[in-house]
């Protein structure tokens, strides 16, 4: 089989896995939220609600696709597409297992982390344009809010990576994971890890940073006007982004596919998936536990706390490496 055909099949398979993971992450989230609130969660469609994602997909597919008269039609349709493409595109460089053979990664590029940062920062366009193109008040407010929030937290996020880069000495994701065979970077880069996790929650617009869709003030934020599968695209993008930042946290701070507790018999991919699953659970736990922040506090926290702390962290790391490394 020619190489390109293998890559094509792998790509299609990976996308299928990502979309399936999205569908069940959504179901698991609703189950967990249910249990945390002493409800059973979805349990009508199929055993334990296992067919709920299929039912949701069918319902979204058959819903009428509404476009408000005041909307900019082209951008209105383009925005969810942009969100989804950027959410999918990141997986081109994420290695799921040791990629010496190239089995568990699509493209093992040496600028992996730069590519991830570049692609994920494009995601803001989907939200920004979607809210603006709706030609409606709440979506516009939601989208300017979220744009400001996402770019503010992106700064601290890109600074929190630098400590890891100093220790690993490479921007290749494969190289970063290999640098963690002795100890995971969550130990020497604990501050960086905490900053990353906070900014990751803010970047994906999830509770307690979900001001983008603050129901009490903005109806549903930037996607108020969207219906049917076009709303679904934003929804898929949000969950796929959650998976993405969980993967990045696993790769940069929690040793990627390196086994925990010295259990090397378990394959690396299993470890990777387990760590990502722990992160996803953490996300859902946060949503069940924490109330939403106030917008001015959110912005002040990003600029006045996270940014200087991230910079201090990178200076300390550099000093340690300069004198001991």
């Amino acid at each position: 089989m020619p190489v390109w055909l293998i890559v094509l099949i792998k790509s299609a398979l990976l996308l299928f896995v990502v979309v399936t993971a999205f569908a069940y992450a959504m179901l698991v989230e609703r189950k967990i939220l249910g249990w945390m609130q002493l409800r059973p969660g979805p349990n009508r469609v199929g055993p334990w609600g296992l067919l709920q994602p299929a039912a949701d997909a069918a319902k979204l597919l058959l819903k009428e696709d509404l476009t408000p008269e005041t909307a900019d039609r082209l951008l209105y349709k383009l925005a969810p597409f942009i969100s989804l493409v950027t959410a999918f595109a990141v997986y081109a460089v994420i290695p799921f297992g040791s990629s010496s053979s190239g089995t568990w990664v699509i493209g093992n590029v040496n600028a992996g982390i730069l590519l991830i940062l570049a692609i994920t920062s494009l995601g803001v366009y989907g939200i920004c344009l979607g809210g603006w193109a709706s030609g409606s008040k709440y979506p516009l407010l939601g989208s300017v809010r979220s744009t400001a929030q996402m770019i503010s937290y992106e700064l601290a996020m890109s600074l929190s990576f630098i400590g890891v880069l100093i220790l690993a000495g490479t921007t290749s994701l494969d190289g970063i994971v290999h640098a963690q065979t002795r100890w995971w970077f969550v130990l020497p880069q604990f501050v960086g890890c905490v900053i990353y996790v906070i900014t990751a929650v803010a970047e994906t617009n999830r509770a307690p940073f979900d001001l983008v869709e603050a129901e009490t003030e903005l109806v549903a934020g930037f996607h108020t006007e969207y219906s049917g599968l076009r709303f679904g695209l934003f929804f898929i993008a949000e969950y796929v982004n959650m998976l993405t930042v969980s993967c990045i946290a696993t790769l940069l701070f929690f040793g990627g596919w390196n086994p925990a507790f010295g259990l090397a018999a378990v394959p690396g991919v299993v470890w990777f998936v387990l760590k990502v699953a722990c992160f996803m659970f953490f996300y859902m736990w946060l949503r069940a536990t924490l109330p939403r922040l106030r917008y001015d506090r959110l912005m002040a926290f990003g600029w006045k706390v996270l940014l200087p702390v991230a910079t201090l962290n990178l200076i300390v790391t550099a000093v340690v490496v300069a004198y001991t490394g």
Binding site: L8, A300, V321
Partner: protein, 117 residues
């Protein structure tokens, strides 16, 4: 194969999948439009005024600050990767850079650039 080759192939597949997701609803869903469905949503009230597209100036300010600081953050990357080779020399150079950055940051803070009114 060049490692960016598979990335390009994957991107094509991802775009195709996203395109499929965006085109399908137009084919399957039945449309029964009426005047009220085409209105912008304002919690059931008829829209009182068109959207002027105006929003507070603070958002522009945040965007400008972001551009300034993000460009500076980007210049940390090549330095960080070479830190093991540059050692104390690299550290001192970067501390000078960070001091310059901190002066700008302190100025913005003092001017109230981070206060949301």
């Amino acid at each position: 194969m060049n490692p960016y080759g598979p990335v390009a192939i994957y991107l094509v597949v991802a775009v195709a999948a996203a395109l499929l997701f965006s085109v399908v609803p137009g084919l399957l869903a039945r449309a029964k439009p009426n005047a009220h469905k085409r209105e912008a949503y304002e919690c059931g009230v008829e829209p009182t005024s068109p959207v002027a597209g105006r929003f507070p100036i603070r958002f522009y300010l945040i965007a400008m600050l972001f551009v300034v600081f993000d460009v500076e953050a980007a210049s940390f990357y090549p330095w960080a990767v070479q830190m093991h080779a540059l050692r104390v020399f690299g550290l001192l150079e970067m501390i000078v850079f960070i001091i310059v950055l901190a002066i700008g940051y302190a100025y913005v803070w003092k001017k109230g650039g981070f206060v949301w009114r």
